[in-house]
């Protein structure tokens, strides 16, 4: 297990538990009561730690190396899934995955950012930072969904769109802008979940939908706390402050009315019990698509555009 800084009290408890279990295995002393006590203490400590997370701690949790990514949910939620590749223009981006799926009789087109689970795969997936072809692949799949009247499910988990030389040559800005434009008018329901990091244009590039939810230990912001710190504080050391200032937690985002709700994670975060997380997510998303299937297509688009047109806070002055 990997413990984050603020999870240190847990690490000690788990070490004690392990030792007790060793003693138990030898079988000379009955320690079952101690084990039970310790386990309940662990639960209590977890509740304490996780009920009061700061913005920066949520950022850390969203990047937990054992946190489940898009493909994990795809494998654990759907009865059937066929991955589709390529944007038909340049290449197949590895940082955005997508395909056609089915749960029971609910068919879906799924798109999502994908990070790697080990060093080699992290590089292969470009750390979840998509190039223009990733956004164009996602758009191609959404167009298939539209043509065959299949709703779209989007999983967001990216530290940002890739700021590379080739990405600029191939029009990173245009690719994201085009997705926003097309997703506004897509004739099928779109439901988005922030399952990890939701950084900037890279996130919203597949994140415009009829309903947007965030998992409990995730963040969504115009910029990552690190970059914000380096620009506004002119140093990398103020990331904690930046994370607070940016108001990037699901609770803040829900308070602002920018997202529709927060999906609760199992105790200790999604990485503690990915299977349970998948089940929670499965129930949640099925409910959304069921509700949205009752909305007429034109109303759906009108409401979607209205939803985004009304976001923004400003003062009206008379002059």
């Amino acid at each position: 297990m990997v413990f984050l800084e603020f999870e240190q009290p847990l690490e000690q408890l788990y070490q004690q538990l392990e030792k007790l279990k060793e003693v138990e295995a030898i079988g000379d002393v009955d320690v079952s009561k101690n084990v039970k006590d310790l386990e309940s203490k662990i639960v209590k400590t977890k509740e304490e730690i996780y009920s009061n997370l700061t913005g920066w701690q949520k950022v850390q949790l969203s990047r937990h190396p054992q946190r489940p990514y898009t493909m994990y949910y795809v494998e654990n939620i759907f009865d059937e899934f066929v991955e589709l590749h390529g944007d038909r223009q340049f290449k197949d981006d590895k940082a955005i995955v997508g395909g056609m799926a089915r749960i029971g009789d609910q068919r879906l087109v799924v798109i999502g950012h994908q990070k790697g689970i080990n060093t080699k795969l992290r590089q292969y997936r470009n750390f979840g930072m998509a190039n223009p072809e990733g956004y164009r692949k996602a758009l191609r799949l959404m167009k298939i969904a539209e043509r065959f009247d299949i709703p779209v499910l989007s999983f967001i988990d990216t530290p940002g769109a890739y700021p590379g030389l080739e990405a600029e040559e191939r029009g990173q800005a245009e690719a994201i802008a085009r997705n926003l434009f097309e997703m506004s008018q897509l004739k099928v329901p779109i439901v988005c979940y922030v399952i990890g990091e939701g950084a900037s244009g890279g996130a919203i590039g597949i994140g415009l939908g009829d309903r947007v939810f965030m998992l409990q230990n995730t963040w969504y912001s115009v910029i990552s706390p690190e970059s914000c710190s380096s620009i506004l504080w002119r140093s990398w050391d103020h990331k904690e402050e930046a994370a607070e200032a940016l108001r990037l937690t699901p609770e803040h985002m829900h308070g602002f009315g920018i997202i529709d709700g927060i999906v609760k994670e199992p105790l200790g975060g999604a990485h503690n019990d990915p299977e349970a997380m998948s089940q929670i997510l499965k129930g949640h998303l099925l409910e959304q698509f069921k509700e949205l299937s009752k909305v007429k297509t034109q109303d759906l688009i009108d409401q979607r555009i209205e939803r985004y047109s009304s976001i923004g806070k400003f003062a009206t002055v008379t002059s």
Binding site: A161, Y162, P163, G164, L165, A167, E168, E169, R170, G171, Q172, A173, E174, I176, A177, R178, L180, F181, E182, S184, Q185, S200, G201, I204, G205, L208, Y220, S221, V222, I223, C228, I231, L232, W233, H238, E241, A242, A245, L246, R247, L248, H252, M253, F256, I258, R304, I305, Y308, S309, I311, G312, K313, F314, A315, T316, V317, T318, S319
Partner: protein, 335 residues
Amino acid sequence: MRLRRYGHLSLPPFGRKPDPLSKDLSAKTSKKIARLDLNANFGIPYIPILKQTQSMGWFKRLKDGIQTATKYKKETPDGLWYKCKSCDHLQTTKELAANLHKCVSCDYHTRLSSAQYFEILFDEGHQELFSDIESTDIMDFVDLKPYTERLEAAKAKTSLKDAMAVAQGQVNGKSLVVAAMDFVFIGGSMGSVVGEKIARSIKYCIKERIPLMIISKSGGARMMESAFSLMQMAKTSALLSRMAEHKVPYFSFLTDPTTGGVSASYAMLGDINFSEPGALIGFAGPRVIKETIKRDLPEGFQTSEFLLEHGFLDFIVNRSDLKERVSKMIGLFGF
């Protein structure tokens, strides 16, 4: 004990057994003398070894710094001269202004304000729209300075209300709504006000059936409004899709610089996208890209010429031809 000096060396006297103490002493002394020797100058003048790049000065400055007292200095008022950033050509600001704020020598296009673009584009007299909204501090944002202070400072410095101004007027007799950004206002950053001004302009243009031109000039989304800024990308793009539905033309004019959330939303979504020569246009800034790929960027990377070459612009227009070209485009779109 006595030490005799022989030349620069000091040795114990002959015929005597050197005792350990004297040996020590002599060693110390000889070291001392050796050190002295190194510094000795033997009557030869000291000549420092000069690198070839250095040259020897014939005159020596006795006092440091410039000696002219302030009261004897000749005063040149600020803002009379302009030195071109591209070719270093020195010209008066009058000459520069007469040339539509382009360098008289190399045609370098300097950055303009929204008011200056209105001046260039509209026939005469235009009406400002939606000037009744201002930014507020939504989330008590504090970095090195509170956002409210930054806003106040920007307003005081620029006498603008936010990073965008919208105006309606005639271009060679044809109606046009122009929404232009001001880079001097917090880096032309897009927050709720910029988003709302664009939203209102779009709705207005749909209703009145007038083409819309947005002049982008921005570093990207405004960080101090965090997620609200990010959502302006979705807001503007969603409404532009509505405008396309109603078949009202949208001209996107990308000027130096157009990056970040602005380029990744409305700036790239024009029915036609065009730009001025030499403008910086891109998603990520050049510094970030350089840090990411750890290589130098090629010459002309992310300039408007580069974007034209890669198929993201329809044309590049010199400022002198801007009005003519825009008026021609309005006509060709049937408005």
